[in-house]
Protein backbone atom coordinates (compact mmCIF):
# COMPACT_ATOMS: atom_id res chain seq x y z
CA UNK A 1 0.00 0.00 0.00
CA UNK A 2 1.22 3.53 -0.84
CA UNK A 3 2.19 5.83 1.99
CA UNK A 4 0.45 9.20 1.90
CA UNK A 5 1.59 12.62 3.02
CA UNK A 6 -0.86 14.91 4.81
CA UNK A 7 -0.51 18.44 6.04
CA UNK A 8 -1.42 19.22 9.64
CA UNK A 9 -4.64 20.81 8.46
CA UNK A 10 -5.61 17.78 6.36
CA UNK A 11 -4.94 15.51 9.33
CA UNK A 12 -7.09 17.79 11.46
CA UNK A 13 -10.00 17.45 9.02
CA UNK A 14 -9.58 13.70 8.98
CA UNK A 15 -9.59 13.57 12.78
CA UNK A 16 -12.69 15.77 12.99
CA UNK A 17 -14.59 13.55 10.57
CA UNK A 18 -13.51 10.37 12.34
CA UNK A 19 -14.50 11.76 15.73
CA UNK A 20 -17.94 12.64 14.36
CA UNK A 21 -18.31 9.11 13.04
CA UNK A 22 -17.12 7.71 16.38
CA UNK A 23 -19.66 9.86 18.24
CA UNK A 24 -22.43 8.68 15.91
CA UNK A 25 -21.54 5.05 16.60
CA UNK A 26 -21.20 5.57 20.37
CA UNK A 27 -24.61 7.24 20.60
CA UNK A 28 -26.44 4.74 18.41
CA UNK A 29 -29.49 3.67 20.39
CA UNK A 30 -29.53 0.01 19.34
CA UNK A 31 -29.13 -2.20 22.38
CA UNK A 32 -27.14 -4.95 20.66
CA UNK A 33 -23.92 -3.50 19.29
CA UNK A 34 -23.24 -6.22 16.69
CA UNK A 35 -21.01 -4.77 13.92
CA UNK A 36 -20.75 -1.43 15.71
CA UNK A 37 -18.16 -2.93 18.08
CA UNK A 38 -15.88 -3.74 15.16
CA UNK A 39 -16.51 -0.38 13.52
CA UNK A 40 -15.63 1.49 16.73
CA UNK A 41 -12.45 -0.48 17.27
CA UNK A 42 -11.32 0.32 13.72
CA UNK A 43 -12.23 4.00 13.95
CA UNK A 44 -10.58 4.46 17.35
CA UNK A 45 -7.40 2.73 16.21
CA UNK A 46 -7.33 4.98 13.16
CA UNK A 47 -7.81 8.08 15.33
CA UNK A 48 -4.88 6.98 17.50
CA UNK A 49 -2.67 6.47 14.46
CA UNK A 50 -3.57 9.85 12.98
CA UNK A 51 -3.04 11.63 16.31
CA UNK A 52 0.39 10.04 16.59
CA UNK A 53 1.24 11.06 13.02
CA UNK A 54 0.04 14.61 13.67
CA UNK A 55 2.04 14.98 16.87
CA UNK A 56 5.19 13.71 15.16
CA UNK A 57 5.00 16.33 12.38
Amino acid sequence: MKSLDFTDKELTYLLISLRKYEEKLLTDESEDMEDTTTDLLFIQSLISKLKAAKSSQ
Partner: protein
Protein backbone atom coordinates in the same frame (compact mmCIF):
# COMPACT_ATOMS: atom_id res chain seq x y z
CA UNK B 1 -4.06 0.38 27.74
CA UNK B 2 -4.25 -3.20 26.56
CA UNK B 3 -1.40 -5.61 26.99
CA UNK B 4 -0.60 -6.54 23.42
CA UNK B 5 2.25 -8.85 24.42
CA UNK B 6 -0.03 -11.85 24.12
CA UNK B 7 -0.88 -11.05 20.53
CA UNK B 8 0.99 -12.90 17.79
CA UNK B 9 3.01 -11.24 15.06
CA UNK B 10 0.74 -9.70 12.38
CA UNK B 11 0.45 -12.13 9.49
CA UNK B 12 0.34 -15.18 11.77
CA UNK B 13 -1.95 -17.91 10.45
CA UNK B 14 -4.20 -18.97 13.34
CA UNK B 15 -6.21 -21.64 11.55
CA UNK B 16 -5.69 -23.40 8.24
CA UNK B 17 -6.02 -26.84 6.69
CA UNK B 18 -2.67 -27.81 8.24
CA UNK B 19 -2.85 -25.60 11.37
CA UNK B 20 -5.18 -26.29 14.29
CA UNK B 21 -7.01 -23.40 15.93
CA UNK B 22 -5.45 -23.24 19.38
CA UNK B 23 -6.94 -20.10 20.89
CA UNK B 24 -10.26 -18.38 21.31
CA UNK B 25 -11.32 -15.86 18.71
CA UNK B 26 -14.30 -13.62 19.31
CA UNK B 27 -16.89 -11.94 17.14
CA UNK B 28 -19.43 -9.30 18.17
CA UNK B 29 -22.70 -10.66 16.83
CA UNK B 30 -26.41 -10.58 17.48
CA UNK B 31 -28.13 -12.17 20.48
CA UNK B 32 -29.14 -15.22 18.48
CA UNK B 33 -26.39 -15.60 15.87
CA UNK B 34 -22.80 -14.60 15.13
CA UNK B 35 -23.77 -12.55 12.06
CA UNK B 36 -21.57 -14.48 9.67
CA UNK B 37 -24.23 -15.09 7.05
CA UNK B 38 -23.47 -11.80 5.30
CA UNK B 39 -20.60 -9.52 4.39
CA UNK B 40 -20.73 -5.76 4.39
CA UNK B 41 -19.27 -3.63 1.62
CA UNK B 42 -16.66 -2.39 4.07
CA UNK B 43 -15.46 -5.99 4.49
CA UNK B 44 -14.43 -5.91 0.81
CA UNK B 45 -12.85 -2.45 1.14
CA UNK B 46 -15.66 -0.90 -0.93
CA UNK B 47 -16.13 2.69 0.22
CA UNK B 48 -18.88 4.05 -2.02
CA UNK B 49 -21.63 1.73 -0.77
CA UNK B 50 -22.73 1.05 2.79
CA UNK B 51 -24.37 -1.79 4.65
CA UNK B 52 -24.69 -5.46 3.82
CA UNK B 53 -24.11 -6.86 0.36
CA UNK B 54 -27.58 -7.96 -0.77
CA UNK B 55 -28.06 -11.69 -1.29
CA UNK B 56 -28.95 -11.15 -4.94
CA UNK B 57 -25.58 -9.45 -5.50
CA UNK B 58 -23.48 -12.05 -3.69
CA UNK B 59 -22.23 -13.48 -7.01
CA UNK B 60 -21.22 -10.07 -8.34
CA UNK B 61 -18.63 -9.29 -5.68
CA UNK B 62 -15.37 -11.09 -4.99
CA UNK B 63 -13.67 -11.83 -1.67
CA UNK B 64 -9.90 -11.53 -2.02
CA UNK B 65 -7.28 -12.88 0.40
CA UNK B 66 -7.16 -10.64 3.48
CA UNK B 67 -10.82 -9.69 3.17
CA UNK B 68 -13.64 -11.36 5.06
CA UNK B 69 -15.10 -11.63 8.52
CA UNK B 70 -13.69 -9.69 11.47
CA UNK B 71 -12.86 -11.42 14.74
CA UNK B 72 -10.78 -10.46 17.77
CA UNK B 73 -8.39 -12.33 20.03
CA UNK B 74 -10.03 -10.83 23.11
CA UNK B 75 -13.42 -9.49 24.12
CA UNK B 76 -12.47 -5.93 23.17
CA UNK B 77 -14.44 -3.00 24.59
CA UNK B 78 -14.31 0.21 22.52
CA UNK B 79 -13.06 3.36 24.24
CA UNK B 80 -15.84 5.48 25.70
CA UNK B 81 -17.71 2.42 26.92
CA UNK B 82 -17.29 0.48 30.13
CA UNK B 83 -18.43 -2.97 31.28
CA UNK B 84 -21.13 -2.76 33.97
CA UNK B 85 -22.68 -5.20 36.39
CA UNK B 86 -26.32 -5.99 35.71
CA UNK B 87 -27.65 -3.75 38.52
CA UNK B 88 -25.68 -0.69 37.39
CA UNK B 89 -26.54 -1.34 33.76
CA UNK B 90 -30.28 -1.52 34.49
CA UNK B 91 -30.12 1.86 36.23
CA UNK B 92 -28.69 3.83 33.34
CA UNK B 93 -30.77 5.51 30.65
CA UNK B 94 -32.31 2.72 28.55
CA UNK B 95 -31.13 4.42 25.36
CA UNK B 96 -27.55 4.12 26.60
CA UNK B 97 -27.74 0.44 27.57
CA UNK B 98 -25.71 -1.65 25.17
CA UNK B 99 -24.88 -5.32 24.90
CA UNK B 100 -21.99 -6.97 23.15
CA UNK B 101 -22.96 -10.54 22.30
CA UNK B 102 -19.72 -12.45 21.87
CA UNK B 103 -19.46 -15.53 19.68
CA UNK B 104 -16.43 -17.72 19.12
CA UNK B 105 -15.21 -20.41 16.76
CA UNK B 106 -15.24 -23.86 18.35
CA UNK B 107 -11.80 -25.45 18.47
CA UNK B 108 -10.95 -29.03 17.44
CA UNK B 109 -12.71 -28.72 14.11
CA UNK B 110 -11.07 -28.71 10.66
CA UNK B 111 -11.35 -25.47 8.73
CA UNK B 112 -13.37 -25.71 5.51
CA UNK B 113 -11.00 -25.88 2.52
CA UNK B 114 -10.55 -22.48 0.91
CA UNK B 115 -10.67 -20.57 4.21
CA UNK B 116 -7.94 -19.42 6.58
CA UNK B 117 -7.88 -17.31 9.74
CA UNK B 118 -5.10 -14.74 9.83
CA UNK B 119 -4.07 -12.35 12.60
CA UNK B 120 -3.52 -8.96 10.97
CA UNK B 121 -3.33 -6.87 14.14
CA UNK B 122 -4.93 -3.79 12.57
CA UNK B 123 -6.53 -2.72 14.83
CA UNK B 124 -4.67 -4.53 17.64
CA UNK B 125 -6.30 -7.89 18.36
CA UNK B 126 -8.03 -8.06 14.99
CA UNK B 127 -8.00 -11.14 12.80
CA UNK B 128 -9.83 -12.00 9.61
CA UNK B 129 -11.53 -15.20 8.51
CA UNK B 130 -10.59 -14.95 4.87
CA UNK B 131 -10.02 -16.92 1.69
CA UNK B 132 -6.92 -18.74 0.43
CA UNK B 133 -7.84 -17.71 -3.12
CA UNK B 134 -10.31 -15.19 -4.54
CA UNK B 135 -13.89 -16.36 -4.78
CA UNK B 136 -17.42 -14.89 -5.06
CA UNK B 137 -19.09 -13.71 -1.87
CA UNK B 138 -21.70 -16.45 -2.23
CA UNK B 139 -19.02 -19.17 -2.29
CA UNK B 140 -17.22 -17.61 0.69
CA UNK B 141 -20.43 -17.43 2.75
CA UNK B 142 -21.24 -21.06 1.91
CA UNK B 143 -17.85 -22.08 3.37
CA UNK B 144 -18.27 -19.82 6.43
CA UNK B 145 -21.63 -21.50 7.10
CA UNK B 146 -19.64 -24.69 7.82
CA UNK B 147 -17.58 -23.00 10.57
CA UNK B 148 -18.92 -23.88 14.03
CA UNK B 149 -19.63 -20.80 16.14
CA UNK B 150 -21.04 -20.80 19.66
CA UNK B 151 -21.89 -18.12 22.25
CA UNK B 152 -19.00 -16.82 24.40
CA UNK B 153 -20.86 -14.50 26.75
CA UNK B 154 -22.41 -11.07 26.87
CA UNK B 155 -20.81 -7.83 28.04
CA UNK B 156 -23.24 -5.26 29.38
CA UNK B 157 -21.74 -1.88 28.56
CA UNK B 158 -22.63 1.78 28.84
CA UNK B 159 -20.96 5.14 28.41
CA UNK B 160 -18.12 6.00 30.78
CA UNK B 161 -19.72 9.37 31.58
Amino acid sequence: MRNQNNFPVPGTVLWAVDIDLERDVFRSGAASKPNVEYLRFVDLNIDDQEGCIPDDQADKFTVNPGQGISLFLERMIPEGLVIMDAATWKNIDKKKQKKINWWGIDQNHPIPGGLTLIYDGQPPGHCTLTVTRSMPVSAFLALVALVPFSPRGIDLVGPIH
